[in-house]
Point group: C2
DNA sequence: ACATGTGAAGCGCTTCACAGCG
DNA sequence: CGCTGTGAAGCGCTTCACATGT
């Protein structure tokens, strides 16, 4: 069995993928230092990261761009479609529903849900917002595996529980709160205001 | 001089702060294991992290909630207002402009900019979208230190350069691309579709 | 000649385990 | 006694430096 890929490497793979796509169309191969410069890391790290995928580089030349793209995509599970539901259709939920970066990677939004009856029935990005009672049926009918939580903080835990009950296996949490671990469910948190607070820490430290 | 606070600790401080705020109003003190459970980390890490701020706990009791809140806020520079500008008023930019999490932490949006003349003049969350030519004057007049980039990928580098030229010191990049390091500027990247790809990696690995 | 792939060293964070203190 | 604060050990990632391969 292949050794497990370190978590930090997994997080960098999408970045490398994006860099490969930004390369000029004609470029057939790319060296680790070039990719490193684009991704904002150093060359040794690129080589080590890519070595976990197997040996796809050519010594003296570099990496075949197309082959590496396929390989990273395969590793990230991007060669297939993933059905995604979004719960919480506020400003952020709407922005996520419209976000083209998901579609490019074959993440398809197959359901939008909101607890607010005034939002139910609205149309967002070609989908109709449905009531929470429809969550279970929609998840199973449309085979959704990933759920996005973009509700206010106070609703997030309950929504996560409902997603788990509906059969969702992975949750991306944009609500500004921590969801407690759920059995067999992978939860990732993206907190928009955490990031700005980190900036503020360093601004504050390095002289107003 | 105090030892520097590890980067990973800085990233957790906003989480602890949020947990402290979620505590019931009457609760005067909190133990490291309780805070750890809320934040989704272990107790030793909480204690080590908080020890970098100084010794604000009471042995046999725990941490004074109010004091700890103030201390973390102070460390993160949240006791003062920070003026923020947003460039790129698409779906995401609008969501960020409306995002209440920024205001709660005294980050004030003082300017919205877009290169698209059709967007200029629109009103979003009480602010009028201005043309890029106004970036420099607005940043200096309103003392903005932080810039948020929520443009398409292809525009991000140029916008970052313009923000730097305008006097911005810290950039939060939501565009799905890497901005190359700029002298004296702290850049943080938040890539919404990176996170979902990481989920997909683990889904893919742990059996469809 | 040149760039990858990789042991090994280095480094920083995590976790342990317990001394210290209220 | 209970919980913090912290040296020290453990662990995983980063970086180096060069052997390896074309």
């Amino acid at each position: 069995m292949k050794p497990a890929i370190p978590k930090v490497t997994v997080q960098r793979l999408p970045v490398y993928l994006r860099c490969l796509e930004d390369l000029p169309a004609g470029q057939g191969s790319v060296a680790s230092d070039e990719l490193a410069a684009m991704a904002g890391v150093n060359a040794a790290k690129v080589r080590k990261d890519l070595s976990y995928l197997g040996s796809y580089g050519v010594r003296g030349v570099g990496y075949d761009v197309e082959r590496l793209r396929l390989q990273i995509g395969l590793e990230l599970g991007l060669e297939r479609d993933w059905a995604v539901v979004i719960v919480g259709v506020g400003n952020l939920g709407r922005a996520l529903a419209n976000y083209s970066g998901f579609g490019e990677r074959r993440f398809q939004i197959v359901g939008l849900f909101d607890a607010d009856p005034r939002k139910v029935g609205q149309s967002v990005d070609g989908l109709t917002v449905e009531p929470m009672s429809r969550l279970g049926p929609v998840v199973s009918e449309r085979g959704a595996r990933i759920g996005i939580v973009s509700t206010p903080a106070h609703a997030a835990q309950q929504v996560a529980d409902q997603l788990a009950a509906a059969g969702i296996r992975s949750i991306l949490n944009f609500a500004p709160t921590v969801i407690k671990p759920l059995d067999g469910i992978d939860i990732r948190r993206v907190d928009l205001s955490t990031e700005i607070q980190v900036l503020s820490f360093y601004l504050n430290r390095n002289g107003s």
